[in-house]
Each structure stands twice: as C-alpha cells, then as structure tokens.
Amino acid sequence: MIFKKFSSPGLMVLAGSLAMLQTSATNAAYELNMTEGVTPISQELYSLHMLVFWICVVIGILVFGAMAWSILYHRKSRGAQAANFHESTTVEIIWTIVPLLILIGIAIPATGTLLDLEDAKTDADITVQVTGIQWKWKYTYVDEDISFVSNLAQTSRDVFKDPTGNENYLLEVDEPLVLPVNKKVRFLFHSNDVIHAWWVPELAVKQDSIPGFINDSWATIEEPGTYRGQCSELCGKDHGFVRIGVEAVTEPEYKEWLASKKAAAAAAASAAEQEWSKQDLLARGETVYKANCLACHGVTGAGIPGAFPAMTGSAIVTDPDPSAHIDVVVNGKAGTAMASFKGQLNDVDIASVLTYERNALGNSVGTVIQPSTIKNAR
C-alpha cells in the first residue's frame, strides 16, 4: 500500500530531485521569511519577529564566536594548557541580569502588539462568522443575511496524483471570502465538529475554531488582492485540503458583490420550489457528493472500514423509505463524525445528493427525492 511505485528507490529519488531542483530554480519560490502582510497588525508582527530574530543572531554570534575561538585556540594539539578556574559568582550574576534586560526589551513591544492584536471588538465595520466544518469553511455575513460554504476548488482535487504544472494547485477555493479594503473586519470563529484554525498569513489572523466556543480576531486589509491561507490545526483526514481564499476588493466592488450574492440566493430559493428531473438531480448530486461526502465515504462509496461507514449497500441509503436517510443528512448523527448539513447545503443540493446516493455508488433504489421534500423535513 505504501510503496506503490518504487522501482529503484535510491537512484530515482536522487535523479528526480536533482532534475526537479534544476527545473524549478527558474520560477522557484525559495521564500525564506515571514510575509509582511497587508494589515497594520501583520506589519507589527513582522517587525517584532525581525527584532527578536536579530537579537538571537547577535547572541548567537557572541556565544558561537566564543566557542569557535576556544575550539581554534584552546586545543591540546596547539599545546594549550588547561586553566583551572571553575567558579565566578560575578559572571554568573552578569549573565543572568543581562539576558533579563534583553527579555524586558522584547516583552515591552510584544505586550503592546498583543494588546492591539486582541482588540477585535472596538469599532468593527463588518462582522463575519467563520465556521469550521470537516473539511471546509462556512462564512456568514452577520449583518447581511449572506452565508455560503467555501471548499477547495475541484481543479485541485482532479490532479492529486500529479499536480505538476498546475500553478494554483491547492490554492484556489470554489467561493472565496470577499471583503472590502480599509474596513475593520471582525471575525467570529466557531466549529461544527472538531477544532480547526483559520489562518491567512497576509492578514495575520490565526485563530482556533472550537466547538462550543466563539473566538474572535480582526483585520483591516490595506491593499486589494487575493490572499490565501489554510487550516492550521489538525482536523482529521483532509486537514491538508481545508483552504482559505480571501478577495479584498474596493468598497463599490464589495457592494456589487453583496447584491449579486443576494440575487443568487433568491434564485436558488425559487429553484427549490420547482420539480426537478432525475437526470438533473443526479448530475448535480455528483458534484455535491464530491465536494461534501467523498472525503469520508469514498469515491466509490466504500467508506473507510472502522472509521467511516460505506454508502454502497448501506441499510439507511437503500431503505425504500427515505426518511431515515433524509434525517441523517439534514440533522447529522450525534456522537459521530456525521455532520448536520442543513446549515451547509440548500434544499436542491440535499435533494440531489440523496438522489445520487440512492441511484449511484453501486446502489439502485430508484427513489427520486425532490427539494420540496427536504424543505418540509427541515
């Protein structure tokens, strides 16, 4: 299972690595340091980081310099005779006090920066609730009645085995978080399942989203652009693929986006009123399945034995009475990893994925579930 294609290990790795180092050198991203970012806090953090770094460098030069000097000059092969001193209260006191003063020098700016960093409540212009869900984010604009789920883009999922040449591999999301520049945005973090952490380096926001807690943080983005990040707290199998995309836009563009988002929500609501054909439901269901269910229940519906149950042949899925199936998807199953999807997917999505699960993945129950059924089940 582990060594799927190792033919002649040593040589292949070596040759491969040399080749790739060479080709990648042209467009290499040998990034060495922390980003300065695009918020006042991220710049403060960067300066503090550099301050502590240079202090360490200076201490390092002194300590390693003294060591190197002894190694070069106080060696037996040069005829060095060992001295016998082994105690001096004075120097012990000096090298306790001097580091203490240096630490105070670090602690003072660090305290100021920490107080700024934690001041999320004062004068926030926009509040966005960020919900961590295995393995995606849900964003809710608290004052705007807008809410959507953001996943890793399908383009990355298609090339897991060989992403060569795919520049945006694991960077793009299907729906980025859109925010206006020069506004103080307050984030509220929460989780539906396990602990996640929402991190965008350029925004200098990293905060755990924890079930049962609401944490906050903030950012005022000063430059329009696309900023990317990802989950940084191990949250299970697909932790590496919980990506974050933030689009920072100007105020008018933001207003425009809000309007289009609201219009799309209205369109989706009316679509839920209609009767859908089986083909349409199946087609849409496949997309929804890939984005939401595949990670646990598998490409073929086989699940992961002992961890995640199979879809194929499942008693709930193949039961001609769909009510248990609808219930588990809409409300989740307490005490397990099965999430409640009523807050993540709309009626059409749930209806289509249920129809898909019943008529694909090796199942052929035949039932078609309409969005209206889901609406009533909520």
Binding site: S24, E92, V159, Y169, I195, S232, E233, A307
Partner: protein
C-alpha cells in the same frame, strides 16, 4: 591502587553472582546493567521504527501531490512517529542510561528496587506492541497527532484509540515506577561522602527529571482516562454538546506536555556537563549554578504550559502571563550554555567522537533555543503556531538536542560498559554525516514555516516544493546514518581495542576512577572512597 582491589572484588562477584545464561537472563534480570542494556536496545529499535515512519512522511512530502500514501495513513504516520519517538526512543534511552550510570556514579552496587526495575522495563515492549498493532487494525492507527486533541481523539477517533489509551497507561506506569526507583537509589544509596552537591550533574538532572515524571505522568493518565470515559461511558469532559470543554483537554495535556519536554532534555544537560569538562581537561564551570538552573527550569516548566495554546482564544491577561513566564525560561537555559562555553574557554581540548556530538549538541540545541524564544513571543506566535517553524524548533531541541546527547553518551561510556573502544574513524564519519544531513533536513523547515506551510499536512501547494525536497533528501540521509550507527554499536559490542579503566585522559567520576572497564556485574560491593 584501588583499582586492583576492585578487580579482586569483581572476580568474587563473578564467581557467586554472575549473570544467568540464555534468554532467561534478560527476562528475569534484576541487574541494573542488564536492564540498562534492555532499555537502550528497546530505545534503538523504537528509533528505527519511528524513523522509518519519518521516512514515509518525508517520502510523501518529497514533491507536491499525493503519490505514495493516503492522507488518513499519513496522519497515522505523523501520530505514531511522534508517540514512538517521545515515549519509545528518547525517554527509554535516558532511563537506560540512568540504569547503567547512576549506581556507578554514586558508588552503589545496583538500583534500590531491582525487581521493580525489571517490571518497569518489561511493561514497555508490551505497551509498544499494543501501540504498533493498531497500524494493522481495520480502522488504522490513531490519526489525531501525538498531542491527541479532543474531540478529534474522542468523538471523531478511530476504534483503535482504545488500544492507544491502554498503551499510554502502561508507559505511564513504567515511567512512574522507573522514577521512584531512580529517586530511591539516589537518595539512599550514595557512598559515604557523596553529598548531594558532589553528585555528577547527570545524577542531579535525573533526580530532578524523576520528580517531574512522577508529577506529570499521572496527569497524562488522567487525560487518557477522561478520553476513555468520554468515548464509552457517556461522560462529556471534552464534549461541548454535553457541557464539557475541548480546550480543557489542551490545558490538561500541556500541563503534562510541557514538563515532558524538559523530561526529555534535562538528562541531556547532565550528559553534556560530563563530556565537555573531560575533553576540555578542565572542571565544569559553575557546578552549583548548573544545579540551580536545572531546578529553576524544572519549576518553571510547570508554569508555562499554555504557550502551546496561544491561538485557542485565551484572555489577554493569560496570554501576557504565559508569554512572560515562557521567555523567562531562556535565562536558566542560557546560563547552562554560557557555563559550557566557559568550561571550554582556556581548556586543553581534544575532539574525540563524544566531544564532537556534545559540541554539535550545544550549537544546535542553542539554535532550537533561539527559535523557542521567538515562539514564546505570544503575538508573533500567531504566525508561527502550528507551522513547520514549530516542527523545525522541536526537532532541533529533540533530535540535535536530546538524541545527540544520547549518542554522545553512547560513545563516551561504551568503552567503560563493554571494555572495547569504538572505532574513532567510524564515529567521526557518523557524526559528520548525521550533522550535515540533519541540518539539510531541519533547517529549511524554518523557511517553510515562516513562508506559511502548516504542520501535519500530507500535501502542499507548489511554492513549498523546493525546500520540502531538500528537507526530504536530508531526511533520507539522516535515516541512513542511524543504520550506520547500528553497525557501529554492534561492532563495538563484539570487539575492539581494549579500553583502559580511565578510558579518557580527562575523565573524572567514580565510574572512571574506581571501576575497571568493563565494570563487574555488581558495580560496588563496598563503598568506594569519595574525594
């Protein structure tokens, strides 16, 4: 002079109380040297086992994309690698060294509680057998990281988690019993004249470490027991839906976990404090301040745990306190480094293999200390937390720190233990090979972390490809170097140039001054004179 007397005593010992023959010698042994050997071999096997999982991790991270293993299996590897290295490789190695060395250093015939000693060792192979077996279970091994944060390790964990919990309990019992034994030995069995402030620093650091272990292993046991009842008996310690608190898990875990960090480094300080003076031919500078620094680090280690949790959303006052307390630890740690450097200053140094490893320790452990100071600065930890910068930091302190000290200890004391010198050329090759490889392995991880790569991910976007590939190459080279070390170990045990009783020109301490190489089965049947 006195070595002649001890030689005779040794002969008598062999006649009456030599080791039993065959396999049962090792199963039923109550001898501190035999048990020390068992611990060290277990630790080496675990190093290679944990190391092979690291190889799988580095193989998958060699280039972007998912080529070799599935993400679920990758998470099992990072989890098991951490658990095996911490509980299986580093901790047993130090206990093994304590078993071999403490009685010889304090002038005792054996450990105070020899049968307990046998049991505390023999729990471990079973504990790790149970832990390793989870990899072959249907759900796979635990996949929630060695820190096993709830609720990922409770509600969302694979079925094999219960085996993990039982294994952790066994390891904890073993550690607590081992610690009781070490404390009882040090406090009761010192030769007349061996006052506390005359003890070698290795004995001192182990005495303090043993207290840390007794204090925190029960906390870990409590954490896994709460996990167990949450999983099966309807409690909600860590389940917010039942009124529990997932963050409380982290507080409990790190109240164990931070002292645990010092459990893995304090004995290393003791080893380095023995080796540097020997090869500088000059007494250790600031012995008493070394003792006080060790004690300060141990006490502070109980008061800084939440610096592992700066992003969980603590109150600002809490974050400020934990930041101040954390960066304060750099003072006693700095004192130690300054003392070692001053010990070298105006010495008459030679650079045999143990000295090379000790010097490597000082330089690279200090680099790990610098990144530790940076991580302690709470606001900037926003950018460092849970990235490869952290991975680089703790591997500098644990691999080039703890592991380097263990390897240094091997080269330093193995001539005493076996009576054979190791091959100096091979030892030096081992050092330079490992040191170049380990820096190629871990130094670029600082850059990866700063540039934004989180830890515990099986795959990454393309901007991290170059440094990951370099790091993986270093990883494979470092792994191979430890297989080479296995060859050196076996070769040295089987034969080699005869070691003198003193072994090193500048060596001090009862084990070098009062015992032959190899020492008799029971070290001191009569208390040696202590200067």
């Amino acid at each position: 002079m006195s070595s002649e007397i001890t030689h005779d005593a040794a002969h008598d010992e062999h006649d009456h109380h030599g080791p039993a023959k065959g396999l049962m010698r090792w199963v039923t042994t109550t001898n501190h040297k035999d048990i020390g050997t068992l611990y060290l071999w277990l630790s080496f096997i675990m190093l290679l086992y944990g190391g092979s999982m690291a190889m799988i991790i580095r193989l998958e991270l060699f280039q972007p994309g998912l080529q070799w293993v599935e993400p679920h299996f990758f998470n099992q590897m990072t989890t098991m690698h951490g658990l095996v290295m911490v509980f299986g490789a580093i901790m047993p190695a130090f206990v093994g060294l304590a078993n071999w060395l403490v009685p010889m250093m304090i002038g005792a015939p054996d450990m105070a509680l020899p049968r307990l000693n046998n049991w505390s060792f023999w729990l471990l192979p079973f504990a790790f057998g149970i832990l390793a077996s989870t990899t072959f279970m249907e759900s796979g091994a635990p996949a929630f990281g060695w820190t096993f944060y709830a609720p990922l390790s409770t509600t969302y964990a694979p079925d094999s988690t219960d085996f993990f919990i039982f294994a952790v309990h066994l390891m904890g019992i073993s550690s607590v019993m081992g610690s009781i034994n070490i404390i009882a030995t040090i406090l009761n069995m010192r030769a007349p004249g061996m006052t506390l402030m005359k003890m070698p620093l290795f004995v001192w650091t182990w005495l303090i470490t043993a207290y840390l272990l007794i204090a925190v292993m029960p906390v870990l046991a409590g954490a896994v027991t709460m996990m167990l009842t949450d999983r099966h008996f309807g409690t909600s310690f860590f389940d917010a839906a039942g009124g529990g608190d997932p963050v409380m898990f982290q507080h409990i875990f790190w109240f164990f976990g931070h002292p645990e960090v010092y459990i893995m480094i304090l004995p290393a300080f003791g080893i380095i404090s023995a080796i540097i003076p020997t090869f500088a031919r000059k007494p250790l500078f600031g012995y008493s301040s070394m003792v006080y620094a060790t004690a300060s680090i141990a006490i502070l280690s109980f008061m800084v745990w939440a610096h592992h949790m700066f992003t969980v959303g603590m109150p600002v006052a809490g974050e400020l306190y934990f930041m101040y307390a954390t960066i304060l630890i750099s003072i006693p740690t700095g004192v130690k480094v300054f003392n070692w450097v001053t010990t070298m200053w105006k010495g008459s140094m030679t650079f045999e293999t143990p000295m090379l490893w000790a010097l490597g320790f000082i330089v690279m452990f200090t680099i790990g200390g610098f990144s530790g100071l940076m991580l302690g600065v709470a606001p900037v930890d926003t950018q460092y937390h849970d990235t490869y910068f952290v991975v680089a930091h703790f591997h500098y302190v644990l691999v080039t720190g703890a592991l380097y000290s263990i390897i240094a200890a091997f080269y330093y004391w193995v001539p005493k233990w076996t009576g054979h010198m190791y091959n100096e050329t091979l030892g030096k090759i081992h050092f330079w090979w490992s040191t170049i490889a380990v820096n190629v392995l871990f130094f670029p991880q600082h850059f990866l972390g700063l540039a934004g790569m989180p830890r515990r991910i099986p795959d990454y976007s393309l901007q991290f490809a170059e440094f990951n590939m370099i790091s993986s190459i270093g990883g494979f080279a470092f792994g191979l170097a430890q297989v080479f070390f296995l060859y050196i170990v076996i070769k040295t045990i089987r034969g080699g140039e005869k070691a003198t009783d003193r072994v090193w020109e500048g060596a001090t301490g009862l084990e070098f001054e009062q015992l032959p190489s190899p020492p008799p089965y029971h070290s001191f049947t009569e208390a040696p004179p202590v200067r």
